[in-house]
């Protein structure tokens, strides 16, 4: 019997895969995925698996006595910016400190799991390879099931290795298992989110973007909750839930159970959608559109509006939701840290000289500004995407000049993030004002505070435009690297005590904290002028260069 015949034989005769059932062929796809990822999969599992145990060994060596660890917890591990970045430490034992240090593991494993699932589902489908396989003996649900099976197995293996490594460094078994499983379940949850996103969108890029947006919101919500010590806010986030097991103090298992239920719900939704839709299609059926263009679609600006409106709407709605959550939690955050003088001082340094609650809001607005800058960069880099997809050419072969085309896109890259910040400030002020009974006072105050970040965001957009004009081939990577550098400088610069000239490189360093203080005009005008100069230079370079390049 040939190998192909054998494959056909067991695909149809095995009860596990059913007689032509939706899961037929899953086994073969699992093997295909394992074959394709045979290098990548073991590497990421092993590299991540050794981290918690190595942290534990380091802490045991650096802080051997309970007194030293208690001091470390009081000075460093309990520091609000560390708690915001990593999550809370549930005690001063070696295990508790090491698992806090490994707090980003949930985010990282979630990210990788999500990307792996999209890579083996929507990417395959978009590339047409899924069609090739779909013509063989293959159940409808098999591709999704195979991608999830492999990712779940990798997450489980990773969790077991993490727990085993922690036990091997002489830590108690219960805490080790709780932490290991929390990593596993964070991975499984976001793998399933990836599976859902892959059903909703037609392109792999959009699926990744959707999944990453969910992951980013989950991280931001946990960060906002942990920074202000608002427990319910942290619990709203799957990442926050995964970090609520209190390993090595008094282990709680219910957050893991909640994650299992959430994963099952998202998974049921994803498989339900997968069973219903056509190959290659997203969930929304292809509807027919207008046969003629409306009056607004008459030039480069109208075209840019059509290309940007969905993203703009999504970002604005997201900003409003974030503002409502932050504004509603601010008062609780303020009272949670009230008695703590050191925390209050730190909050003030981060957020300006206002009440602790407003300082908290100021700090979260700074992070929102970075997200808005990411949106602005994405909108500016859309020009590069249009160029490489050869959609810029037919437009520029009409009576549209390069300047008009660029300015149409630039309008959205500048005004989109502005709208996001204004809405965030407005809704934050509204929610916070409602919670303390001062809407009329807080709305303009917080809207103004959000607006103060706009010029710095524009500078990053200007950097992206200049790169697009001058160095189009590296523009995407360098523009995102610039944003990442600003994020690192802003969040870690003060903690790491970097020198001032380095911090000055980030436009956000020059953004004044205007909450509860006067508005200094000079830095805002200087940032705006810088953004204008960068954009103008980008435009000049774009007008002079070859296209496509």
């Amino acid at each position: 019997m040939s190998r192909a015949a054998a494959a056909r034989g067991d695909a149809t005769s095995r009860p596990a895969t059913g007689r032509g059932g939706p899961l037929t062929g899953t086994r073969h796809l699992v093997r295909l995925i394992l074959r394709r990822d045979r290098v990548l999969l073991p590497i990421w599992v092993l590299v991540i698996a050794v981290l918690p145990a190595s942290y534990a060994a380091t802490y045991a060596e650096l802080y051997p006595t309970a007194a030293q660890r208690a001091e470390y917890l009081a000075t460093t591990a309990g520091n609000p910016s560390i708690v915001a970045l990593l999550g809370p430490a549930y005690g001063d034992s070696v295990g508790a400190l090491a698992t806090q240090r490994a707090g980003l593991l949930h985010l990282i494993v979630g990210l990788i799991s999500l990307l792996v699932v999209v890579r083996h589902t929507r990417t395959e489908e978009e590339a047409g390879r899924r069609e090739l396989l779909g013509a063989t003996v293959l159940g409808r649900a098999a591709p999704l099931a195979a991608a999830l099976l492999v990712t779940y197995a990798a997450d489980l293996l990773l969790g077991l290795l993490v727990a085993g490594g922690l036990v091997a460094t002489d830590l108690p078994a219960a805490g080790s298992v709780a932490f290991g499983l929390s990593v596993t379940l964070a991975g499984m949850f976001f793998a399933t989110v990836g599976a859902l996103a892959a059903q909703l969108t037609e392109s792999a890029g959009a699926a990744r973007g959707l999944g990453l947006a969910v992951l980013g919101v989950a991280y931001l919500v946990r960060l906002a909750g942990d920074a202000g010590g608002v427990e319910w806010l942290s619990r709203l986030s799957p990442l926050g839930l995964a970090q609520r097991t209190h390993p090595y103090t008094s282990e709680r298992w219910w957050p893991l159970a909640v994650l299992v239920v959430l994963t099952a719900l998202v998974g049921a939704l994803a498989s339900g959608l997968a069973a219903r839709r056509d190959l290659g299609a997203g969930v929304l059926p292809q509807r027919l559109g207008p046969a003629t263009a409306g009056g607004a679609l008459a030039g480069p600006l109208g075209l840019a509006w059509r290309l940007n409106r969905v993203a703009l709407l999504g970002w604005t709605v997201g900003a409003a939701a974030l503002g409502a959550v932050l504004g509603g939690a601010a008062e609780a955050a303020g009272s949670a840290v009230e008695g703590n003088e050191a925390v209050a001082r730190l909050m003030e340094r981060l957020g300006g000289s206002a009440s602790v609650a407003e300082a908290y809001l100021g700090a979260t607005l700074s992070i929102t500004a970075l997200a808005a800058a990411g949106y602005g960069i994405q909108a500016a880099l859309r020009m590069r995407a249009e160029e490489t997809a050869q959609r810029a050419e037919p437009v520029l072969a009409t009576g549209v000049s390069r300047s008009r085309w660029l300015l149409g896109h630039l309008a959205f890259a500048l005004l989109g993030p502005t709208a996001v910040l204004v809405v965030t400030g407005l809704v934050t002020g509204l929610a916070y004002g409602l919670s303390i009974g001062d809407v009329a006072g807080r709305v303009p105050r917080l809207t103004g505070a959000a607006l103060a970040h706009v010029p710095a965001v524009w500078v990053l957009v200007g950097v992206a435009v200049l790169l697009f004009g001058l160095l189009p081939r590296v523009s995407v990577g360098v523009a995102w690297a610039a944003l990442a550098a600003c994020l690192l400088l802003g969040q870690l610069g003060a903690v790491l005590e970097l020198s001032q000239w380095l911090l000055d490189l980030s436009p956000f360093t020059h953004t004044p904290q205007v909450l509860g203080g006067p508005v200094p005009r000079t830095p805002l005008l200087a940032l705006t002028a810088t953004a204008a100069a960068l954009s103008a230079a980008g435009l000049l370079a774009f007008r002079r260069r070859d296209l496509p390049r």
């Binding site: 292809q286 409306g294 969905v310 009409t398 070859d546």
Partner: protein, 305 residues
């Protein structure tokens, strides 16, 4: 009337690659001009220079009496362009793209737009991501042909079209010519060029290898002769301009240079002809003579250039 396209000595380099190496191309007003060449010969690069998307490194380029780089916007109002691979915005319908491009070009003929949609059997209500390759090309073609542009620049416009649609395309190109418009048609579908083009430029490695009407080009080439004679074919092998002579009893087959055709036929009739098939060179043969591995050197010296 000015000459719509005049290119001489055009050079364009990308790093170390010399994509255009002294290209000459002249397209006269009112003609359909075939722009032939294999992949990578520089056809699309030349067209992008004409569109002001790429800047020429050397040489002179005149488009509709202007400078394609400096006067790009003004010139673009007078031309329509169809790329070889039309990519559409996934969330815009075909009809929206046609109208958008038309408006940015300065308007299109609504009646002709509807007529074209019907002729090409294109549903303008579908979203860009839902069109097949051939249908995306149709969107580009309808947008260009519905415009009132005096110059059409078509870069391998029919890739992905089925033979029926190819016929429709040819009909509309002829109509455009009848309306007095000028067409630059880059293609490697030789049948299409043979059917449509008044004059042809063959490009190879970034320079023009041949230019002229099809009959001029044919004149420089050989005619194939297949004849059954009344007697043994003596004296044919010695004639100048006769190539690849194969004798099979009283039957002969050979290729003959066009200037030597008369002498060869005279010799055949002297022997006595029972049947005769003669065939002018096809464009394929012209083309292969320039690009084929064996063909170029087989051409008689001085006959092709």
């Amino acid at each position: 009337m000015e000459t719509p396209i005049e290119i001489s000595g055009l050079v364009k380099t990308f790093g170390r690659t010399r994509a255009l190496d002294g290209l000459d191309l002249t397209v006269r007003a009112g003609e359909v001009h075939g722009f032939l060449g294999p992949n990578g010969a520089g056809k699309s690069t030349a067209i992008r220079v004409l569109l002001g998307l790429l800047r020429a490194d050397a040489g002179a380029v005149r488009l509709l009496g202007g400078d394609p780089w400096r006067d790009a916007v003004a010139l673009h109002r007078r031309l329509a362009y169809v790329p070889g691979d039309v990519t559409l915005w996934p969330n815009l319908t075909g009809g929206e793209v046609i109208d958008l491009l038309g408006r940015m070009r300065g308007g299109l003929d609504r009646a002709r737009r509807d007529e074209l949609l019907a002729a090409f059997e294109l549903d303008p209500r579908k979203k860009g991501r839902a069109y097949s390759k051939g249908n995306r090309q149709k969107v580009g073609l309808v947008a260009a042909l519905a415009s009132d542009a005096e110059l059409l620049i078509l870069d391998e416009p029919t890739s992905g079209l089925d033979p029926l649609m190819e016929e429709v395309f040819q009909h509309w190109v002829r109509r455009a010519r009848a309306d007095g418009r000028t067409v630059l048609l880059s293609s490697h579908i030789l049948g299409e060029v043979e059917a449509l083009c008044d004059r042809v430029t063959i490009i190879r490695s970034g320079r023009a290898a041949e230019a002229g009407t099809l009959s001029e080009l044919r004149h420089l080439q050989r005619t194939s002769v297949d004849a059954e004679l009344a007697g043994p074919p003596h004296g044919l092998a010695g004639l100048p301009g006769v190539h690849d002579l194969r004798v099979d009893g009283d039957r002969v087959r050979f290729d003959v240079d066009t200037p030597a055709l008369d002498a060869a036929l005279r010799r055949l009739t002297e022997i006595g002809v029972r049947s005769l098939v003669s065939r002018p060179p096809t464009l394929e043969e012209l083309f292969l003579r320039h690009y084929g591995t064996a063909a170029p050197d087989a051409a008689p010296a001085g006959a092709t250039r």
